[in-house]
């Protein structure tokens, strides 16, 4: 019998270029705020899980020592862009199995340390040695997707327009200016057909959530919480032959398993925070999550069914395209957004009456894999 697990607090800094902050400087304030938000002291924490990809050795311990949170297990988790959500999955596993009652999950990343450009990938990877960069992966996905159906580059631009419109409502977002389809298409080309405004920005960020068992939540008198209805982590499976890049199977499979675990379907969801690192991703993930049939994602977007007032609000935070994408922080930031949405704390971007939320983040560019990792969580208002 597994324990019910709840998210009982969330905090994060606005994503952006925080050049004067270290990993510690990025994460310590939301760590303190998340503990205060839950109304608990550090002595209640049984374990700490920290997602990051570029923080170096002992990033988690460097952060937690600042508030004297030691002795308990601190685990650093690297799964590229899925690091934060993978850390959350580990915390959920520990609590659901009764190994911990209260766990802190930190997602943190400082991308300005690289001075710009695309994400550094592992030079041990064959395609990386050939010069592959992440925009190229998504651009080739876009080229193929556009080739196989009547979707145009304007539809890719509409994803960015929606993201910016949502981000304009979010004080945590890196970009809060709206853009038009024309502006997106006229932006500097990055990797055809993707322009700069179809790509997530480089930035820094940190987000923290507190997870607790039902027993701990009740014992500590924590009022505001959401239930973790599903926590799924998949790894990529090598394909030596011809992979269909328009059907990213790791996201299809992760969503399928998450729906089964939660006992809900796509029609039940009110909010989705998905991995829109590049605009094409949002379209293929509509299809991966069963929101619509294959090759009909653009129509769903055009008809306004994935924005406020639609069937389900996708990326009310602005998503990676507008809120920003500090790799290891993104998965935890998505969960913070789900927490605020399902507890009525999302301000101007609140999805009215939201009861179910799903978060999704993939990780890594690795030759032969769709992605290296994929994490999907489903949450229910408590």
């Amino acid at each position: 019998m597994t324990e019910n697990v709840y998210v009982v607090s969330a905090a994060m800094i606005p994503f952006g270029k925080h050049r004067n902050s270290s990993y510690v400087g990025l994460a310590v304030a939301p760590l303190i705020d998340a503990l205060r938000g839950a109304g608990i002291g550090k002595s209640e924490v049984d374990a700490v899980y920290v997602g990051h990809s570029y923080g170096g050795m002992m990033t988690g311990q460097r952060i937690t020592k600042e508030i004297g949170l030691g002795t308990v297990p601190t685990v650093n988790v690297d799964n590229a862009c899925s690091s934060g959500a993978s850390a959350l999955h580990e915390a959920w596993t520990a609590i659901s199995q009764g190994l911990a009652d209260v766990a802190v999950v930190i997602g943190v990343e400082k991308l300005t340390q690289f001075g710009g450009g695309t994400l550094p990938l592992s030079p041990e990877d064959r395609e990386v040695r050939q010069g592959l960069v992440m925009p190229a992966v998504y651009a080739m996905r876009a080229t193929r997707y556009l080739h196989e159906n009547d979707v145009g580059v304007e539809d890719l631009a509409r994803v960015s327009v929606k993201a910016r419109r949502h981000g304009a409502l979010n004080p945590f977002a890196q970009f809060r200016q709206e853009v038009t389809v024309e502006e997106v298409l006229a932006a500097r080309p990055v990797a055809d057909p993707l322009t700069l405004l179809m790509c997530c920005p480089t930035g820094d960020g940190a987000a923290v959530v507190i997870l607790a068992s039902q027993r701990a939540r009740d014992r500590l008198g924590i009022g505001r919480s959401i239930r973790v209805a599903a926590s799924v982590l998949h790894s990529g499976q090598v394909e030596e032959g011809f992979r269909d890049m328009t059907k990213p199977e790791i996201s299809y499979a992760s969503a399928r398993d998450a729906y089964a675990q939660a006992g809900v379907g796509p029609e039940d969801l009110d909010v989705i925070e998905l991995h829109d690192a590049f605009s094409i991703a949002e379209l293929v993930y509509y299809e991966a999550f069963g929101l619509t049939a294959k090759y009909s994602a653009a129509a769903l977007l055009r008809d306004g069914r994935t924005t406020f007032g639609g069937d389900v609000v996708v990326n009310p935070s602005g998503g990676l395209l507008a809120k920003g994408h500090p790799v290891g922080a993104s998965g935890v930031a998505q969960v913070a957004e789900a927490f605020w949405q399902l507890t009525g704390q999302a301000g101007a971007r609140q999805v009215e009456g939201a009861r179910w939320a799903m978060t999704h983040v993939t990780g890594g560019g690795t030759a032969g894999l769709d992605h290296g990792a994929c994490t999907v969580h489903i949450f229910e208002a408590a």
């Binding site: 925009p135 876009a142 055809d192 992979r243």
Partner: protein, 135 residues
Amino acid sequence: MAGPEAVPSLPVADLESDSLLGTFPEGRRLVGTRCGQCGQLMIGARVVCSSCVSRDVARVALPATGVLYSFTRLHGLSGKHSGGEGVRPVGYVDLDGGVRTLADIREGSTPLRPDMRVELGTDGDDWFFTPAAGQ
């Protein structure tokens, strides 16, 4: 209870042959690996079959022709062959033998499009794919 003496696993020298381009009796071709047990064909010089986990694998020449599955033009992005601020076309080529490779694409007068036939070209130690004759 005593068991068989533990023997060391040995590291795989997978950094010895980094280049995908090799010389074969049929000419310069991309290097592939075929499993002697299950027949799986893989890109690059590999030491174990990713399907049946056999170490009985052999270096083979991959076909020099295939289909351009997808492509992009990178604009001034960092990368091994980015050429600084220039435009670099790259694509995934589905080789006739059944494996896919990332490749630099050299454009001629024929506009690139998915599903077009392409063929391997070499220039010294550099290799690339270009639209096949008749495209």
